[in-house]
């Protein structure tokens, strides 16, 4: 039987979409407040550093960043096809490599905190 990576990337897409549905609006709102000059207490250096230093904070940030990235990569692959870019042999590897590099970078950064 031919092997396919579809179940893996699709489950990452679905998990990321569900997590984004519940969490993305409020997380964007926190950054919007910071952009307006009213950064919430959590986004201050001391608080965010303490949050990211604990195992729960590390896990939360890792799961949010990586699942959002893999969700976006898989959906953008399909969407670029819908916009008429019929080059899946190039599009899919580029997007998944970006998501994989983002995953590695987020692990490296979180481990250093």
């Amino acid at each position: 039987m031919a092997k396919s990576n579809k179940p893996i990337v699709w489950s990452l897409f679905a998990a990321g979409g569900t997590l984004a549905a519940f969490l993305a609006p409020v997380l964007v709102l926190l950054f919007l407040l910071a952009a307006l000059g009213h950064a919430p207490a959590l986004l201050g250096f001391a608080n965010l550093h303490a949050f990211a230093a604990g195992w729960f904070g590390k896990l939360f940030l890792l799961v949010v960043i990586t699942l959002f990235l893999w969700h976006a990569a898989h959906r953008l692959r399909i969407t670029l096809h819908d916009f008429g870019l019929r080059q899946d042999g190039v599009v899919a590897p580029v997007l998944y490599v970006v998501a994989a590099v983002g995953t590695v970078l987020s692990v490296v950064s979180l481990v250093r905190i």
């Binding site: 979409g17 609006p25 409020v26 997380l27 926190l30 950054f31 919007l32 000059g37 959906r75 969407t79």
Partner: protein, 130 residues
């Protein structure tokens, strides 16, 4: 082959302007661009956080300004569009069967919206937004 083959004139790049339903489909799909961009912003924040206080505070300072605000408002709109469109199809994705009957879809949708509101309020409280 017939002498007059039927050729469908469908543009591969502008087909979604043909019907409002196609446009709604595309509006759901393009939310991923904004979710992805926000994930990169979060990655940036975590990376600067790992470099220490000065690096992180210069990131926060660079985040301020009208262009960031405008961009994040657009991201927020698409993030909410992703949430509502995602929750509205949950009865198709997660049908709940009780005996012979299926739970009416509206209860599944309402349950997702309720969890969404509670999660949002909990995170706002935890983040110190008063």
């Amino acid at each position: 082959m017939s002498r007059k083959p039927f050729v469908r004139e469908v543009s591969t790049t502008r087909w979604y302007f043909k019907h409002p339903r196609y446009l709604r489909y595309m509006s759901r799909e393009v939310t991923c661009v904004f979710i992805g961009a926000f994930a990169l912003l979060l990655l940036c924040a975590v990376e600067r956080l790992s470099e220490g206080q000065a690096a992180y505070e210069s990131f926060l300072a660079a985040l301020q300004g009208p262009w960031s605000v405008a961009g994040l408002v657009v991201v927020l709109v698409f993030a909410i569009h992703n949430a509502t469109s995602w929750f509205n199809v949950t009865p198709k994705a997660l049908p709940v069967q009780i005996g012979e009957e299926f739970l009416p879809g509206k209860f599944i949708v309402i349950a997702h919206y309720a969890v969404w509101v509670v999660a949002t309020l909990v995170i706002l409280y935890f983040a110190g937004v008063r």
